[in-house]
Amino acid sequence: MMTVTVSEATIDAGTEFAAISASGAGGIATFVGLVRSDDGVAILSLEHYPGATEAALRALADTAIARWDLIGARITHRVGDMHPGEIVVFVGTAARHRGAALEACAFLIDRLKTEAPFWKKETRGGETSWVEPRDSDDVAAARWKA
């Protein structure tokens, strides 16, 4: 079971967790990414490439399901304007055992950061700037090369 959602709607962690848990698997791993509240960002705006984004996320989920024999994978990514403390992304994986669920969850968020067409813009004190990609994200994504 795979569910990929990209929308401007607020993400509720409880709702997301209930959905991935409904798979009946013995092990669920989740990652929740929040808008940082420690560096003065007032608004985080997420732009994306409609159609290509969903396709990229489905391709990643397909890869994870096959590689770790997952029972389920769920990726929910918000776009538009959001505020510190709000959820940007939820990744959930369901497997028979914890090892597969944990590894697949890390794979999905690492690869999402370098392969899915999202762009972040931060507003701080009335000034806006596009977020620059980080080399550490490329390193994290590269460790999953099969």
Partner: protein
């Protein structure tokens, strides 16, 4: 053509329809052709190392052959998650 993030902002539009000449056979050549035709495009495309592309929604290197695409997107490296 589709443009995203600061590429879109510098060009001043999110999309446009173009008809490049037949000698434009790669994404890089398409970028050169667009840059030669407008100062806004030239400003957006000044640093090729910071550009990424997709042809018909498939992510490709800039030296990839263009073919006869319906949709080409030019954008910065991605920063989601």
């Amino acid at each position: 053509m589709l443009y995203f993030a600061w590429v879109r902002e510098r060009i001043g539009k999110a999309s446009e329809t173009v008809s490049p000449p037949s000698e434009v056979t790669t994404v890089a050549a398409l970028i050169d052709w667009l840059a030669a035709g407008s100062t806004d495009h030239a400003a957006a495309f000044v640093d090729r190392n910071r550009l990424r592309a997709a042809v018909d929604q498939v992510f490709v290197a800039l030296d990839a052959p263009l073919g006869s695409p319906r949709e080409v997107a030019i954008f910065p490296p991605v920063t989601g998650g």
